[in-house]
Each structure stands twice: as structure tokens, then as C-alpha cells.
């Protein structure tokens, strides 16, 4: 456990709240899928909350992140609101992308989220470019590039890590090792030492327990600060786990991972429980207080879902809009 004091309580509670928000969001999304209220399918972030929340805790709203197909958690951690998120998942006009992106392309430009991406590893270039641009523009913005262990298979990542290293770009590559890419274990997909893949390019790499939000936050804080001062790039390998299937429809998982394994992570390593226990055992808060947080968030989520369900779809005219940006110059 990382060293946080009672004085850090506001921060810890903020992270706690955000993690719960993600969990509750995903439970609602799953429910929307199961009740056939959501078009298409979606990928749940549940279990990995400490990764997005812990790292985004040190980012400013003007800092950038890029996200993945499993992107709701990153979106919330970077400050998004639930209503436009649910609207987007349901293809409604008030969604962050006016319903055009959906779960796999949700973006929140106002909070620096450059978007989820349905191409595994596809946003590594975008993240590196955002970092290039920050440096080029003379801004101190930092970019965090979230991606899964499966994305280590994509050559693009190595191409851009090389450039990030050559040009000392302010980017942090955050590899969320949840041990699976779809239905295949990381050990069958990735040879050698994962961290060494970044180190080979001269990038300082760290490993951290991705279920311990305080540890993630502390590492993130120091690396974000160093990155902001020009000390980047960095690579972080975060050990984590997804509770649900690869996507909402992946229900029978026994052929690729055991129930025991799932139980172990849920019961022994849950990031929300771990943080709660830490705060309670230190008597910084009580279960009752935390329950209140959860209830409040559940109510907020329910309201957002209801809102989204009855929100209007975009009008048919919009289908031809936004193919090209309106010129501003």
C-alpha cells in the first residue's frame, strides 16, 4: 500500500467516488444490453477502475488521454458526465458524439479525452501526436495513452514509442495488462518480458499493481510531474483484471479462464473494496459514509439512464453531416 495520509482523504474519496461511478455505469450499461435497450455491444471496464482513476487523478482537464474499445472507465475518470455518456451508448442526439460514435468511439473533447478506439492499438499514434503537439505548441500538457496487453501485438506501438523516445515527448504509455485479449491469455500472445519492450527503446518503464488505486496514483503523480517537466516518455505496466467477459455477450468463459481465477480477483483484489478497507481501517471514513456515496451515484446513474432512454435520436438529416469539418479559417 502506498503512503497516503488522512490529509489526502478528499483525494482518496474523489478517487473512490470515481471508481464507484465507473462500476455503476458499467452495471447499468450491462443491464441496458441484457434488456436489449442498447444497440450493438459493449466492453465493460469493471475491475480495472483503479487504473483509469489512479492515473487520471494527476491529470488536468487540459491534459489528453486516448482510450480503447473498453473506454467508459477512462471517459469517466477524465471527467465526463453520465447523461451524455448514456445518450451516446444509446445512439441519442445528446450523446457526446451526437450518437455517431457509440460506446467504441466515445470521446469528450472538453475534458481532453481524444476518444475510444475500435482498432486495437489504434490510438497509440494519436496519443504520441497529441504529445508531439503539446511540445510543439509550447504547452505543458501531458498525454496518457491507455491500451491493453493485446495491443502489444501491434507494430504501431513500437514505431511511436521509438519516436516518443527520440524526441522526448510528454506521453505516458499505460498498458493495462488484464491478462487477456479477447479469449486468449497474454502468455500466448506476447513473448518475452513486457516491460522490456519499452525499455528497449530507452523508455523508463514501471510496473504497478493496477488494483491498488493509491499505488497507481502515486506512481502516476510522480511520472506525470516528470513528464510535464520534459522528462518523458514513460511506460507503465498495470496488472489488472476485467470482471466481465470480453464484451457483454461473452458469458461462457470457462474455456479460456477459470471461475476460481475470476473469484480470486473479485474477492481478493477488488480496487474499490481495497480502497474502502484502507480508509475504514484507518478510521478516515465509515462504511456508512461510503454506502451513501454509492447510493448517490446509483441514483445519479439511474436518472441518467432514464434521461437517455427517453432522449431523442438524431434526426435523419444528421447522417450526412460531419463527414467533413466546417472550415474555420
Amino acid at each position: 500500500m502506498a503512503t497516503f495520509n488522512q490529509s489526502d482523504l478528499p483525494r482518496l474519496l474523489r478517487m473512490y467516488r470515481r471508481m464507484v461511478k465507473i462500476r455503476v455505469f458499467e452495471d447499468n450499461a450491462n443491464e441496458l444490453y441484457l434488456s436489449a435497450k442498447m444497440p450493438g455491444l459493449t466492453h465493460m471496464y469493471s475491475g480495472q477502475e483503479a487504473v483509469a482513476v489512479g492515473l487520471c487523478e494527476s491529470l488536468k482537464s487540459s491534459d489528453h488521454i486516448t482510450s480503447t474499445h473498453r473506454g467508459h472507465g477512462h471517459c469517466i475518470a477524465k471527467g465526463a458526465q453520465l447523461k451524455p455518456m448514456f445518450c451516446e451508448l444509446l445512439g441519442k442526439a445528446e450523446g457526446y458524439c451526437r450518437g455517431k460514435g457509440g460506446s467504441m468511439h466515445i470521446a469528450d473533447q472538453d475534458n481532453g479525452n481524444l476518444g475510444a478506439n475500435a482498432i486495437v492499438g489504434g490510438s497509440a499514434g494519436i496519443a504520441t501526436g497529441a504529445a508531439f503537439s503539446a511540445k510543439f505548441r509550447g504547452s505543458d500538457q501531458v498525454t496518457v495513452c491507455f491500451f491493453g496487453d493485446g495491443a502489444l501485438g501491434q507494430g504501431l506501438l513500437y514505431e511511436v514509442m521509438n519516436m516518443a523516445a527520440l524526441w522526448s515527448l510528454p506521453v505516458i504509455y499505460a498498458c493495462e495488462n488484464n491478462h487477456y485479449g479477447e479469449y486468449t491469455h497474454v502468455s500466448e500472445m506476447a513473448a518475452g518480458d513486457l516491460k522490456a519492450r519499452a525499455e528497449a527503446f530507452g523508455i523508463e518503464a514501471h510496473t504497478v499493481d493496477g488494483q491498488d488505486v493509491m499505488a497507481v496514483c502515486q506512481l502516476g503523480e510522480s511520472l506525470v510531474a516528470r513528464t510535464r517537466k520534459g522528462g518523458g516518455p514513460f511506460f507503465i505496466l498495470l496488472d489488472t483484471y476485467r470482471y466481465h467477459g470480453h464484451h457483454v455477450g461473452d458469458v461462457n468463459r470457462a474455456y479460456y479462464r477459470s471461475k476460481d481465477e475470476e473469484k480470486h480477483w473479485k474477492n481478493e483484489r477488488d480496487p474499490i473494496i481495497k480502497l474502502a478497507e484502507h480508509m475504514i481501517s484507518n478510521k478516515w471514513t465509515t462504511q456508512t459514509q461510503l454506502d451513501a456515496v454509492a447510493s448517490e451515484i446509483k441514483a445519479e446513474a439511474k436518472a441518467a439512464v432514464d434521461y437517455a432512454i427517453s432522449a431523442p435520436y438524431p434526426s435523419g438529416d444528421e447522417v450526412g453531416m460531419h463527414v467533413y469539418a466546417a472550415m474555420q479559417n
Binding site: 450518437g99 482498432i119 486495437v120 493485446g150 501485438g153 507494430g155 485479449g181 506476447a190
Partner: protein, 328 residues
């Protein structure tokens, strides 16, 4: 004849060819135990083992490149590319390496490989999982391109593809995996370059491939009720293209609508219309008409997505216009 699903037909095609030729193997993401996310390949790893049903990392360019090298040296890979949209990642390998190898070597090297992938929207999968990108490969000499429209064709064309000594890309409509259709018990293949006249007619030719064939069949039935006789032709392979059958049809009917789920502009409907315009010019009674998908990235929202692809009603309305001369 037995009725089986598209998935089943594809599975049979691969299993039969793997039994027939030891050099055939399967390669792709989650093709083994998982049998692909669409479960199309279930059971193959049990019969053929992990040596011949190979799960890869998420490295599309890499494993397509690996397949090219394997094909050049005696093996016959079938690459499973989970979504047609990922073909962009692999095009250097497909178009610069595989497609040109035979030509660049003066015929000394060959690349007998199949890339099996998919196409088709309206699955609410948004812009990066809904594209129909067959035009891109059709434009590159050295590749063959098949677009089956039924389980029967999915099996027959895939078997032909596997036996072909050239790189072949097969696009299956991802909404068709559960479609049922008649498939003979006995072995068969479908030759490339043989379009299929599904329904003869005299007033207008409806020309399509993949799922748009069903759209045209429905439209033809609607048109019959309106007293218009439509000929429906299933293209089957865009490279090689059975120009003769298409030209003969249009010479007879004097009119055509070419329907496709790829973007309309600079898409396969353009090529077909252009060829018909050259070869059947003196027989045309109305402008050759194209109906492709809208020229927009595929939107997620169902209300928008459904507007982007051709529908039977749309084809029927357009055909009525053309036949009645209202289009003039």
C-alpha cells in the same frame, strides 16, 4: 438438399479442404478454442490440432505477412481477419507483397493464400467495424475477390479460393453467419468469374453481390407484383468479373441497377456501370443506375445507420422510375 447455416457451410469448406490437403492451415486471432468471436470455426482445432489451427497475437500485418511467406514456400494458409475494417492494417502485405509476387518474379513465385474476412453494416458496430472494403482489393492486380451471398456460395467459393494458387480475399457479410440455405451433401466448388442469374427477367437487370443480392431478390418480387420483370444477377466474384453475363443481361433488359454495400463513390458499382456503359451502350433504354452505401463513415446510431445502406424498397422505387421513364 440439406439446409445449413452460413457458419456451418464455411466450417465444412475449411474442414474438407484441410482433410484434402495437408498444406492447408488456418491462422488468425481466436480461431482455435474460441472458434472466432462469430463461432464460425468451432470444432476445427479439435479435429486438426493447434498445429493447423493457429491462434495469433493481435498483429494483423504480421500474421498476414507470415502467411505470404508460408504460401511462397509450400504451405497454403487461410488467414482469418476478424473484421474487414482491419484490412487497412494489412494492405502493404496484401497489395505490395502478396499481390505482386508472381508478377515481379516473372512467374517463378506464387502465393496461394486466402484472406477470409467480412463486410456489412447495420450491426450497430460503428465506423471502424462496419465497412465493406472489397473495392480496395479489387483495384489491385494480382488479387482475386469473392463475395458470396448464400451458404451454398460461401462454401463453394471458399473451396475454390483455397485451391487457387493466387491470393484471394473472401468477404462474407457479417450478418449472414446464421442465415440458412441449401447446400449439397456431395462435394462441389464454384468457379470464379461465373455470375449467377438468380431470376430471369426482361425489363431491368438488378446486379449485386453479398447481402445486396437478397435486397435485389426482395425488390424483384415487389416489382413482379407491379408487373415489372426484373432479372437478378449475383456477381459472386468481382475479380475475375463475369462481364459477359452482365453485358448479355443488360443488352436484353436495356436497364440496370447495380447495388452494393460498399460506399458508392469510387466503388465497385462504378466499375460495373462503366463497363456496361461501354459494352452495352447501344442497348440502353435508361441510365445505368448505381446504389451503393452512402459516402459517410458508418454511424453508430441505428436511426442513422439504417439510412446508409440500400434497401429493397429503395431499389424497387428506383427500378419503377427507370422502367416507367420517370427517371428521365
Amino acid at each position: 438438399m440439406k439446409q445449413i447455416t452460413w457458419s456451418h457451410a464455411v466450417n465444412e469448406a475449411i474442414a474438407e479442404e484441410m482433410r484434402r490437403d495437408d498444406m492447408v492451415f488456418l491462422l488468425g486471432e481466436d480461431v482455435a478454442e474460441a472458434g472466432t468471436p462469430f463461432k464460425v470455426l468451432s470444432g476445427l482445432v479439435e479435429e486438426f490440432g493447434v498445429k493447423r489451427v493457429v491462434d495469433t497475437p493481435i498483429s494483423e500485418a504480421g500474421f498476414v505477412g507470415l502467411a505470404v511467406g508460408a504460401a511462397m514456400t509450400g504451405a497454403r494458409p487461410i488467414v482469418d481477419l476478424m473484421f474487414g475494417d482491419f484490412i487497412f492494417l494489412t494492405l502493404d502485405q496484401i497489395a505490395n507483397q502478396a499481390a505482386k509476387q508472381c508478377y515481379m518474379s516473372g512467374g517463378k513465385l506464387k502465393v496461394p493464400m486466402v484472406v477470409r474476412t467480412n463486410m456489412g453494416a447495420t450491426r450497430r458496430s460503428a465506423a471502424q467495424h462496419s465497412q465493406s472494403l472489397h473495392t480496395l482489393v479489387a483495384h489491385i492486380p494480382g488479387l482475386k475477390v469473392a463475395l458470396p451471398s448464400t451458404p451454398y456460395e460461401a462454401k463453394g467459393l471458399l473451396k475454390t479460393a483455397i485451391r487457387d494458387d493466387n491470393p484471394v480475399v473472401v468477404f462474407e457479410d457479417k450478418l449472414s453467419y446464421q442465415m440458412k440455405g441449401e447446400v449439397p451433401e456431395e462435394e462441389y466448388t464454384i468457379p470464379f468469374g461465373s455470375a449467377n442469374i438468380l431470376r430471369p427477367g426482361n425489363d431491368i437487370s438488378l446486379i449485386a453481390a453479398s447481402s445486396m443480392v437478397q435486397v435485389c431478390e426482395t425488390a424483384a418480387a415487389q416489382l413482379e407484383a407491379l408487373g415489372i420483370s426484373a432479372e437478378v444477377i449475383d456477381i459472386r466474384t468481382v475479380v475475375p468479373l463475369d462481364e459477359d453475363t452482365l453485358v448479355a443481361s443488360v443488352k436484353k433488359t436495356g436497364r440496370a441497377i447495380i447495388v452494393d454495400e460498399g460506399h458508392q463513390s469510387y466503388g465497385i458499382t462504378s466499375e460495373i456501370a462503366a463497363r456496361l456503359g461501354e459494352k452495352a451502350f447501344y442497348y440502353l433504354d435508361a441510365p445505368l443506375t448505381r446504389m451503393g452505401a452512402m459516402d459517410v463513415p458508418v454511424p453508430f446510431s441505428p436511426v442513422l445507420e439504417d439510412l446508409t445502406v440500400p434497401t429493397a424498397d429503395g431499389v424497387t422505387a428506383k427500378a419503377v422510375d427507370l422502367v416507367s421513364g420517370a427517371a428521365r
